[in-house]
Amino acid sequence: MCLGIPGEIIELIPGPADLATVDVVGVRRAINIGLLGEGEVRPGDWVLVHVGFAMSKIDEAEAAATLALLTGLGQAYTDELEALAESDIT
């Protein structure tokens, strides 16, 4: 229900408005980072942007883990199935 796009924090904009510039493949916009914890994001961090606000900091380790799982899933699951099939036979 809510379009959220990953963007990279380019710079924090000084001032009371809690703003930062994000880059989405070359498209830049000032967004509000006030919904994140104080000092939670720095330039180079990736955030999820929704209606001009950073909603969440993207966890790069978790992102890699999900992909690794997707890649590894095939093999692990095939092995498991084979084991299951064998145990059924005996």
Binding site: G7, V25, V27, R29, H50
Partner: protein
């Protein structure tokens, strides 16, 4: 599967058939007032044009609703077209309303196969509009005309009261000659043909949207506005072409739908093959837009016989304006009148005509 295995169609299939019948019915204008959707180039525009203008002006030259009308005159065939420009802002990265107005009309003539010759220019100016800006617009028009090898030979100027216009509107009409012994048009399209776009799509529409400043986004973007007559000539010299369309308002998706409907065939687009610059993809993701529906001003769609696909793309890529040309799809027989997209993810979906304006969405 067993449920649907019977010879008669399933209920879902019956519903889908009913929808297709409804889609083929003559469009109606239901609104009591003109909305912005009527100018967006999609279904509403089509409905308005058919229900109001075609109804009033009905004649064989108008009815194909091509980018221009092909007319038989003594000694040859001419192509005649007209286009109005109301772009806001008037000046944007890559161009302004002036060169846009020249290129737009030149391109409409070019994709009809004609060599563009003469243009008219009508200006509707708002009281208070700076003369310096008008001069800049006129200078851009002159430059664009020189580049396209056309002359602006007649014109008109009207001024409306302050608040009754948006600074400056321009209407250009153009005449070109059809010198080649060719007949272009949707009826010539056959299953097995390929669909080519002449370059990366969506740059003009996104540039203008960003330049308006309302969305507060910045991007290294420039309009793709350019006269494509020379690129078209290069293509026509290289291979036989079935039909070409200028992919302006409503974007490539709208043009493909018009081709599919007029030809009574299907266009199957390969999403991964559609050239889109990364920054345009980024802006579209951020705003929830689909680049297939975003306007171009210097790109066209061409349909050629499948056996000429490589030759056509090679010819286009040999020209500076066609470096990004690519085969994006094929023409198939069934389901008639639809555009399907094979998604990069490996699925299939419909690409329908644009409904209303492409509005940025948050949901």
């Amino acid at each position: 599967m067993t449920v649907n295995g019977a010879a008669h169609p399933s209920r879902e299939e019956q519903v889908l058939a009913r929808i297709e019948r409804a889609r083929r019915r003559r469009p109606k204008v239901r609104e009591e007032r003109i909305t912005l959707a009527h100018g967006a180039g999609g279904k509403a525009t089509r409905a308005l044009v058919e229900a109001v203008f075609v109804d009033a002006f009905r004649n064989p030259a108008l009815e194909p609703l091509a980018d221009g009308a092909v007319l038989d005159v003594k000694g040859g065939r001419v192509v005649f077209t007209t286009d109005s420009f109301v772009v806001n802002p008037l000046f944007f990265p890559g161009g302004n309303i002036g060169d846009l107005a020249v290129n737009g009309t030149v391109n409409d003539l070019a994709v009809c196969g004609a060599r563009p010759l003469h243009l008219s220019a009508g200006f509707i100016l708002e009281e208070g509009f700076p003369v310096a800006e008008l001069r800049r617009i006129a200078e851009s028009m002159a430059e664009a005309a020189a580049l396209a090898g056309v002359q602006v030979v007649t014109g008109d100027t009207k001024v409306v009261q302050r608040g009754k216009g948006d600074g400056c509107y321009v209407t250009t009409s153009g005449i070109g000659v059809l010198e080649r012994e060719i007949t272009l048009g949707e009826p010539t399209v056959r299953p097995g043909d390929v669909v080519i776009v002449s370059g990366p799509i969506g740059e003009h529409g996104i540039t203008v949207m960003v330049a308006r400043g309302e969305l507060d986004i910045e991007a290294d973007l420039a309009s793709d506005t350019a006269a494509v007559h020379d690129l078209v000539a290069t293509l026509l010299d290289a291979v036989p072409v079935r039909v070409m369309r200028d992919a302006t308002r409503g974007g490539v998706a709208t043009v493909l739908n018009e081709i599919a409907q007029a030809a009574g065939l299907t266009v199957v687009v390969d999403e991964a093959a559609v050239p889109v610059r990364p920054v345009v993809t980024g802006a579209c993701e951020l705003l929830g837009l689909d680049p297939l529906y975003v306007a171009c001003e210097g790109r066209f769609v061409a349909v050629v016989d499948g056996e000429y696909a490589d030759a056509a793309v090679d010819a286009l890529r040999g020209h500076t304006l066609g470096e990004g040309a690519a085969v994006v799809g094929v023409v198939e027989e069934d389901p008639a009148g639809l555009v399907l997209l094979r998604t990069a993810f490996g699925g299939t979906r419909i690409v329908d005509m644009l409904v209303g304006d492409p509005l940025p969405r948050i949901c």
